[in-house]
């Protein structure tokens, strides 16, 4: 039997097996997604029609905020509600070797031997763009598998987190107490994406102050029209206008609540989960859930297009003898990078124009 026929025989099975609830198939599909193995796009394509039922929560926050511990307790609480859970935990990888120690699983102590909590570690594997694509696709796999709740746990605070949590319907930002400076840092990116804030380790000194600081910041954000589509009719951003729901604006608003928890003991976790549910109901009621999905799909199409065009150009570059000879010419001042880019893209542009002309 040839490799090709063997492959075409196994690949469709993999999705069938995944849909039939086989954990190994789910794990294997995620691996193929991560590795970008040949045929992975077809797999993800086939998953699409089976997605859309899971509630996706993103958990982010600075390193040491207690994300993994919280996720463990969340998974446990969801299981007690009779829900199945998928977790994707992202850890950094070494920029030098590509290696990584994926350490979040170690804290998943409450769900021992329970396959209905499917926990998967993912490493950043160098490329950030690739990571968010892989994360989105892995979420699809878990969703199609039938997980009720999917938790995406990110590395730590940073600009790249913003991309990853776009996968989620609800984004929770975890803040440890007494992190005045951290909070300042959060202002720049993470604060803007939080739907719920959770001050973890609330039994420590300084928790109250952190809660107050966060509340203040949330209020500041509310006052700033830029951060809040749907707020204030008059000076609203275009997004809000296209929403077309200017009536009942105050009801449409979501003011991110600031909650407290001690993830280690499980204190405050139930209330936190209730808040996540409330946010999800709000998303549904206001039509924002669909809006989010639309944005996500648009972004996904754009990302795929970028990837494909990139690959197309890469192939063209290879066919023309690789980038080095171009670099040589640029160094020798015979040409310049802009001219090279124009030159390489010209045939592509021509093709596109020709087709459009037809």
């Amino acid at each position: 039997m040839t490799d090709a026929s063997e492959q075409s025989a196994t690949e469709p099975d993999l999705i069938d097996e995944l849909l039939a609830g086989k954990h190994r198939a789910l794990a294997r599909v995620i691996t193929k997604i991560e590795n970008r193995s040949p045929g992975y796009r077809e797999l993800v394509s086939r998953l699409h029609e089976h997605t859309g039922d899971a509630q996706v929560v993103g958990i982010t926050g600075s390193p040491g905020a207690g994300k993994s511990t919280l996720v463990d307790k969340m998974a446990n609480a969801y299981r007690e509600q009779g829900l199945t859970v998928g977790v994707i935990a992202i850890d950094p990888s070494s920029p030098f070797t590509g290696g990584a120690v994926l350490g979040d699983r170690i804290r998943m102590a409450s769900n021992v031997g329970d396959m209905d909590v499917f926990f998967r570690s993912m490493s950043a594997r160098g490329s950030l763009g690739g990571l968010s694509t892989a994360t989105t696709d892995a979420v699809k796999a878990l969703d199609a598998f039938g997980k009720d709740r999917i938790i995406v746990e990110t590395v730590g605070a940073g600009q790249n987190e913003v991309d990853i949590v776009r996968t989620a319907d609800t984004v929770a930002v975890l803040v440890p107490p007494s992190s005045g400076d951290d909070v300042q840092m959060l202002k720049a990116g993470i604060l803007e994406i939080g739907d719920v804030f959770l001050v973890n380790k609330a039994d420590l000194d300084g928790a109250n102050r952190t809660v107050m600081e966060l509340q203040e910041m949330v209020r500041m954000r509310e006052d700033s029209p830029r951060f809040d589509p749907g707020h204030h009719g008059a000076e609203a951003v275009p997004d809000a206008a296209s929403n077309g729901e200017d009536g009942g604006e105050s009801e449409d608003d979501w003011e991110p609540p600031v909650l407290e928890a001690v993830a280690k003991t499980g204190e405050g976790v139930d209330e936190f989960l209730d808040t996540l549910d409330t946010h999800h109901e709000w998303l549904e009621a206001t039509g924002k859930l669909e809006e989010l999905a639309r944005e996500r799909y648009a972004e996904e199409i754009r990302a795929l297009l970028r990837e494909d065009v990139n690959r197309l150009v890469g192939t063209e570059l290879r066919n023309r003898g690789g980038i080095e000879s171009y670099v040589d010419s640029v160094l020798a001042k015979e040409t310049d990078p802009y001219a090279v880019a124009d030159d390489l893209l010209e045939p592509l542009a021509e093709c596109v124009e020709e087709r459009r002309g037809e």
């Binding site: 691996t31 590509g98 290696g99 120690v101 396959m115 690739g130 192939t315 980038i323």
Partner: protein, 141 residues
Amino acid sequence: MSADGEQEQRTIRCLVAKVGLDGHDRGAHVIARAFRDAGFEVIYSGLHKSPDEIVQAAVQEDVDVLGISILSGAHNTLVPKIMDGLREYEADEDTLVIVGGIVPEDDREGLKEAGVAEIFGPGATMDETIEFVRENVHERE
């Protein structure tokens, strides 16, 4: 090529596991780090895990390599349990299982019959272990 954003990125994934009562994990840490530096993705289980937990982790993480570190002498009971668990999920065939730690000569044959690919005792070097993994990791489509 930098313009190519979609090349396959095959990365060896490895679970470093501590099973049972044995509470010494210095060796597991060292090997986890060495694997990381070799470019592997390493998931460390943490101490005192049951065979079930290790199986759950190995299956969900879809690891290429399962490295079990045992110093307690309980390998004859724990390792076969893990192998049985992997078999249950049809994960035994393409997971390379290696054991590190203190394993008496007499026990080695039994472990290998249970499906362990290699046993690395006190004299084994990191390079040797990494080399073995690179050479024996199962090809996957």
